[in-house]
Amino acid sequence: MLAVFLLIVWGMFLCVLYLMSVFVIPLSMPYHEPLLISIYRIGVAFIVLIVWVIAWHRLAIFWLYRILRRSNRYGMSRQNDSPS
């Protein structure tokens, strides 16, 4: 199951890299763009990256609590000192 999750994260990573390239690569071109457009390009690329992180984190939370709900352990709380 975690392999499927990784496969999704990987697929999303490739898409995100492509989108970021589309937004950021024009910055390295020899012609000069207005500064505002350059800042906008970096901002959009950064937002794409943040959305990617939030997307797979939400996906992982959804997946984890679905499993915990099935095993009837959801919402229980116990204290311990494991760092993992």
Binding site: L2, A3, F5, L6, L7, V9, W10, F13, L14, L17, Y18, S21, V22, V24, I25, L27, S28, V53, I54, W56, H57, A60, I61, W63, L64, I67, L68, S71, R73, Y74, G75, M76, S77, R78, Q79, N80, D81, S82, P83, S84
Partner: protein, 329 residues
Amino acid sequence: MSATLLLLFTSFIMSALLSYALVPFVKNLAKKTGLFGVDVHKSWRPLIPKIGGITIFIGVTVSVLITSFLFNMLDNRVLAFIISTELAAIVGLWEDFRELNPVLKPVLLALVGLPIVFMGAYYPYPNLPFVGKRALTILYPILVPIAFTVVTNAVNSMDVLNGSMTFTSLVATSTIFLITLIKGNILPAYLCAGLIGSLMVFAYYNKYPAKLFPGNVGSLYVGASLISVAIIGSVEIALLVAILPQITNEFHIIYSMRGLRSAKNLSERPVFVENDMLTANPSKKAPLTLVRMLTSKCSLSESEVVKMLVIISIFSAILALITEFFFIK
């Protein structure tokens, strides 16, 4: 061809032997300085020397220095690798002695990447999936310190169980070794060979039940080595894919803890231990980690979890190979 094989073999054997020879010294040093960690996943809670990573960083550094002199390979890239990774080891050692501020640590780890930038040990034309080689002469030096922080912290976040960081890093290092070797890029392959040698020896002492912990000195050194080699060898994307499990683990922790906070301030832990078995903490307040995800279905022993982490790392390594050879022009 034979000279290349001899270089790789010498680097591998020398770092392995040096690391092996250093183990008693590190155990004594830990005794003298009182640097022990409690192995919390065992019912008998043994005290384990927690600066075992010193064997990796001295082993690799000395081996790289000697072999690069012997084979006439010493250049700015090798020196940048040595300086950056040593700085990461110093940050790690500092944290092993005294816990660092959770905001200061990523800043220091970003600074660790600066020797790579200032010594010009990078190639600012990365090969990107679908779009190919692109000139990022201004952006690339800015991305290097960020990459150092992300990768070193990601590897560090995996150091939670006996052998978890060591074995998963061995898989990632072997992947980068294979890719650079296939591409005929000998320098990064030889740096990887040294790291593999030390990690293999250390894995023997760190496997369940651990006799040595890598500590922050070990995990930050290994993370810095991996990103340095990836930058020097222009295989950054492959490395990021190979360590996707570590990266997802790192961001899950940061996101669940709502920012950079010390793990010691957690109100609830991700897993609980009962009869030497790990079970996911079902509380909503517990942070999300890979180990918690793995133990959510059923309780697992520590060595079973590490085996699963290694399987996931091998899966990521295959994805890294696919990315490098099928998606990058």
